[in-house]
Amino acid sequence: MTAWRTTGALGRALALAALGLAAGVLLGEPALVVLTAPFGVFAALGLLRRPTGRPVLRTRLDHVVLHEGQGTRSHLVVGDPAGIEQVTRVVGPVPYVALHPAGGALSRRVDPADPVLASVEVSPRRWGRRALGVETVAVTSAWAGYRAGPVTLVVDELEALPVRAPFDSRAEAPTPVGLVGAHRSRRLGDGTDLAAIRPFHPGDRLRRVNWRVSLRTGDLHVVTSRAEEDAGFLLLVDALADHGRSGGVDGAASSLDVTVRAAAALAEHHVRTGDRVGLRVLGGTGATLRPGAGRRHLRVLQSRLAHLHAEEPRHLTADKVQLGVPPGTVVVVLSPMLSELVGAVTGTLVRRGLPVLVVDTLPPGVPPLVGEGTDPAVAALAWRMRLLEREEVLARLAGTGCPVVAWRGPGTLDEVLRRLSRRGPQVRTR
C-alpha cells in the first residue's frame, strides 16, 4: 500500500500556469497567457482527478510449478483500480528466466474495470528454484497528476522442474523383486510369459493343464509362467560439481544439467512402468528419497532434483556414504565421474553384487573450471590429467562388469539393461 504524491508533470504544469497567469496579470503581457494557458488545462484536470484511497498492489503467478521451458504469467493486481490510468512495471533480470516483454519492463494504460493492471510472461529456462526477486511498480492517476510508488514488490518463487526429456526403454529390469509389475521375473508365478511345460504335481491349478500335450503324452502336463514383478531403481546423482556452462533448456548443457534431466527422465519412465524409484544425491543438497512409486512420488522426486545445486561437502568420504540399497535394486549412477568419491562409491556397490550402471553425464568438449588468478595453461594441463584419470576409473569400472554409457536420451539404457538381465546373480566380494 502506498500513498499518492504529485508528479513532476503536475508540478511543472502548475508552475508554468501560475507563472503565466500571475505575470500576465501583473505585467499585462498577453504572450504569457497564450503560452501557458494549455498548462492550466493539464494542471486543473490533474488536480481534479486526484484518486481517493491507497492502491494495494500485489503480484500473482498463474503457476508456481513448471517444467523448464514452459511459461506462465505474472499478474500485477490492485485491490481497487478506480482512479488509476497508467501502470509501470519493471521486473528485475533473473538468471535463467525469460521475460516478455523483453527486459520485464512495461508501461501501459489501465482498464479501470480490470483489477489486473499488467501481466508479464515468465518462462524458466533452466531447472531449479527461480526466485523472481523484486520488481518495481508505479501507478499514475488520470492526467498524470498523482503517482503511487515506485514501490518494490517481492514476487513469488517459481519451481522449475527438469524438462521432460524424451526417454523410453524397452529393456527389462535386471532383477525384479517386487510383488506386481511389468517386468518378467526369473521366478515362476502367475504371469503371461511361458516358462515351461512340465508334468502335473498335486496343488497345480487345473486351468494350467495343457490338454494338447497331456493327450499326446498320456500324462497330465501344466504350463508354468514367469511371474511379473516391479523393480527397484536407485538414482545416485553426483552433485559434487557442475562442469561446463549451462545455456538453459535451449542452449548448451552443463554436467549437472545432463545429470538432472537424465535422472528426471529415468524416474518418470520407471514410475510410469510401475517400478519403485529412489534418489540419493552425493553433494549439493544431499537429498535422499526412499524408493517409492506413483505420480505423487515422482513429483516429490522431481522437486528434489529441481532443488539441486553443486557443492562438495567437506569431510565426505566413501566409507561415510550409507546408501542402504535393498538387494535387487538397480543402481543408476549419474555422474561426470570426475570425483574420486563417486568412483569409490560405485566400486563398493559393484562389489556388493548389485546391478550397477553408470550414466556418464560429462558433455563433450567441456572446458575446465578455472579459478580466478589461475594460469589458463596450467588449468588446461590439470584438466587433461583429470580427464585421463577419469578414463582410467571408467575402464576399471567396466572391467568389474559395471557398464558405463553416455546419456543420449531414448534407448540409452536398453542395451546395458538387457545385458544385466541376461547376467546371472553377481558374486559378492569384499
Binding site: A31, V33, A37, P38, V90, S107, W143
Partner: protein, 176 residues
Amino acid sequence: MNRLTGRWPAGQVALRATMVLAPVLALQAGALAGTPPRLWLTLLVAALGLAWTRLPDAAFGTVALGVVVLWWAAGPGRHAPGPALLLAAALLVAAHVAGLLAAYGPSTLGVDRGLLRLWVGRAALALLLAPVALGVTLLAAPGRGGPGVWMAGLAVAFLALSLAGAAFAADESEPR
C-alpha cells in the same frame, strides 16, 4: 544509433529528442516574429533540456520551459503576438507531454502506443486554448489598451475549456 543511445528504445529516443529540441525550437520561433534569441540563451535552454532528459521528473523541465515563456513575454511576444506565438505554445506543450511520457518509467521502457495516442489527443485539446486566448487578446486589446478586458476574456475562455476538458476526461473511462 544504438551505440549513441545505449539501451534506449526508439520511442524513448524520440521523447528525449523532443524534450531537448522542442524548447530550443520554441525559442527559435521568435525569429519568425523578428526577434531571434541570443546564442547563450539557446545554449542554456538546450543544456537544461539535456539535463531534463536524464531526470524527467526533476525541475529542469520547468526551468527550461519557464525561461522560454519569460523570453517570449519580454521579447517577440511583446511586439508581435501571432502565429509564431502559437507555434511556440505548441512546441512547449509537446515538450511537456514528452517529458511526462518519459517520466512514466526508466529509459529502457518502450513507449505504449495507447498512452501516446491518449496524450497526443489531450495535448491537442489543451492547445485549443492557445488560439482562443490569442484571439481574445487581439480582439479585446488591438492597441494593447485595456488589459482588464482581455484578461477577463482569457479567464472565461480558460474556465470554459477546463470544464470541457473535465467533461472529456469523465467520458474517457474506457481505454482506447
